[in-house]
């Protein structure tokens, strides 16, 4: 009997403790959901009274900020397409061919990729992009991101494709399909869950990145949202909390939408071979 009480109370104690920790982590998120609708929002948590959309009206009137969202979309989607297509083709070739030294290639690229997207390489990257004449173009941002993300994307995808039996494409080819047909009809649909992971991962990476576009772009009408968000800071560097909160909510929506879409459509699961 005593033993049961002990277990009962330790269970309650644990739940209370876990709830406290949960609440602690939930506070910033709740602020993030409430502040945009509060005309007098500050850094403290407060329930909006009255509930208003005036912050959003002000944000939507700021063309620089709204164009920033659009630019982010161009750069992210462009980068995702570039990374997705190249990584799929490269990973497929690396997985299926008998090219000697193919793992060495992947590992060396992987090693250098962490340099490309790191801040240490910003000066050489700026110089390269400048000498190619691509400074202040969306393409430059897309290319630099692709350079940074591709090796990791290839590495993840190659591992994924390695786990898919070759017999899929072999059976297609024996049945009369050309290698290209076998790739599109059979291999690609089976690889798709892996590609989806790459797409989401690279989208989130590019969408949230500040340094690379900040350095490579000059004109304000090309800046992405991650840079444009600084227009909601006063000259002295203090944030205008109301507008910042509203803009941050808008800024995070596409990523949330992408996650929801992918988990609804694909469910973030891998399906490799059929269990035999």
């Amino acid at each position: 009997m005593r033993h049961m009480f002990l277990r009962f109370f330790s269970r309650i104690g644990f739940s209370v403790f876990a709830s406290l920790i949960g609440a602690l982590f939930a506070l910033p998120l709740i602020w993030f959901l409430f502040a945009p609708f509060n005309a007098r929002a500050e850094l403290g948590l407060a329930i909006p009274n009255p509930f208003t959309l005036s912050n959003f009206v002000t944000v939507f009137n700021n063309t620089f900020a709204i164009r920033g969202l659009w630019n982010s979309l161009i750069q992210s989607v462009g980068g995702v397409i570039f990374v997705g297509v190249s990584a799929t083709l490269a990973a497929y070739a690396l997985s299926r061919s008998n090219m000697p030294g193919k793992s060495a290639v992947t590992y060396v690229l992987l090693l250098f990729s962490s340099v490309v997207s790191g801040s240490a390489a910003m000066v050489p990257i700026f110089l390269i992009v400048n000498s190619v004449g691509l400074i202040d173009t969306h393409i430059s941002v897309i290319l630099v991101f692709a350079g940074g993300l591709l090796p990791t994307a290839m590495f993840i995808l190659r591992d994924f494709i390695d786990g898919i039996p070759k017999s899929y494409e072999e059976s297609a080819m024996v049945a009369g399909a050309s290698p290209v047909q076998a790739f599109f009809d059979v291999a690609l649909p089976v690889i798709r869950p892996g590609i989806v992971v790459i797409v989401v991962w690279s989208f989130v990476n590019i969408w949230g990145s500040f340094l690379i576009p900040f350095i490579l772009l000059r004109s304000s009408e090309k800046m992405p949202a991650s840079v444009a968000i600084y227009s909601f800071y006063s000259e002295a560097g203090t944030p205008i909390v109301t507008l910042l909160a509203a803009y941050a909510l808008l800024y995070s929506l596409p990523v949330v939408a992408l996650y929801l879409f992918v988990s609804w459509k694909f469910g973030f699961r891998f399906f490799g071979g059929i269990k035999a």
Binding site: Y168, S171, V174, A175, A177, D185, V190, I274
Partner: protein, 367 residues
């Protein structure tokens, strides 16, 4: 349908030689099994017919035309894979009809044909499902349906039954046998299961270490195994093999070993030749040719009882000799066999196989 020919085909992967200078002729309408332990080169040989591997040297012909370097899609073949290789994102109808799709058939024709084949294989009611939703046996039949949906010159099977449980395997084996009788297809079938090979093949090519050891009809392989390897591989349980001392005396071969008592065997030309250089031979007797000695038999082997396994219609009786060598008899009786500690097994002289020191069969004269 067409014949298949290997002409001095070799295949190596780096240092490893998978297939050594293999020549093999598979006739039109023949069902040939490539039988051997894993790593013997049987699957590599099959994949070379399919075009999934390219020979290092030699050539392969399908129906008189050289296909050595042709792409698989240009060979007009079909193949059933060990893991079935069903496309997980397509339903069964699309899986079965895929070969027709790449041949540009209309969707209506494809699905009609898929339905016909699926009905024959008793999976016609599952066509809307995807592979993950059907059982292993149904997956196996789906992959078979995909191979049969279009006319091929050669049908290739890569251990298609090895992922099935024992009962389904027997059923599928019977169906394949029926199919072969029905269609008279040219088929090459890779397996490591000797029972499958015996049941299905018109000829069996027994392979070991990249070479064909014997290529003959199943009954020939069973009755006259060319080497101790074949003797040991075909048959369940395998042939009992025993090293013996032999010499020619009084116009016969007298054979001696511990616990063995035998009348002299007739001298054959090959045996006489083998005994010129040495006196160690290998004696072989199949388990089904042994019975419990009743007394008075002239050919017997005796030892201590090691195991007595009742299988229902038959029993396996194993004796162990002083040197730990074992001899198994397969006794066809549904009675329980009661045995003493010491057992004698008897056999007839006509069921004896002799192999020389290199393991090659010594045929009797007139064989």
């Amino acid at each position: 349908m067409a014949s298949v020919q290997f002409k001095n085909v070799s295949k190596s992967f780096g240092e490893f030689v998978a297939v050594k200078d293999m020549s093999l002729e598979i006739g039109d309408g023949e069902f040939v099994c490539l039988l051997g332990p894993s790593g013997c080169g049987k699957t590599t040989s099959l994949r070379m017919i399919a075009g999934l591997e390219t020979p290092t040297s030699g050539s392969i012909e399908i129906g008189e035309s050289d296909v050595t370097f042709k792409h698989p899609k240009d060979r007009q073949i079909s193949m059933v894979f060990q893991d079935y290789a069903l496309y997980p994102h397509m339903n069964l109808a699309d899986n079965i009809a895929y070969p027709l799709k790449v041949r540009g058939e209309s969707e209506q024709n494809r699905h009609k044909r898929a339905q016909e084949v699926a009905d024959v294989l008793k999976i016609g009611h599952l066509l809307e499902r995807v592979p993950a939703q059907i059982s292993g046996g149904q997956q196996q039949r789906t992959s078979l349906a995909r191979a049969l949906v279009y006319p091929s010159k050669v049908y290739l099977f890569d251990e298609p039954l090895s992922n099935l449980d024992a009962k389904l395997r027997l059923e599928a084996r019977g169906f394949l046998n029926h199919l072969q009788r029905d269609m008279g297809m040219t088929a090459v079938y890779v397996t490591h299961d000797q029972a499958e090979a015996m049941a299905l093949a018109t000829r069996i090519a027994v392979m070991n270490e990249g070479e064909i050891v014997q290529y003959a009809p199943p009954i020939e392989i069973y009755r006259r195994p060319a080497t101790t390897f074949v003797a040991n591989f075909v048959g369940n349980p395998p042939m009992n093999l025993l090293p013996v001392e032999a010499m020619i005396a009084d116009g016969g071969i007298s054979i001696r070993a511990d616990g063995l008592s035998m009348d002299p065997l007739p001298v054959s030309a090959r045996a006489a030749k083998a005994l010129e250089t040495g006196k160690t031979l290998t004696l072989g007797v199949r388990p089904e040719h042994l019975h419990i000695a009743a007394g008075g038999e002239s050919n017997t082997i005796s030892g201590k009882l090691f195991a007595n396994e009742n299988m229902g219609p038959e029993s396996l009786v194993t004796l162990e000799r002083a040197d730990a060598a074992r001899f198994t008899a397969r006794i066809f009786t549904d009675d329980e066999i009661r045995l003493e500690q010491n057992v004698s097994l008897a056999f007839e002289a006509r069921h004896v196989h002799l192999f020389d020191a290199d393991g090659l069969r010594l045929p009797f004269d007139g064989e």
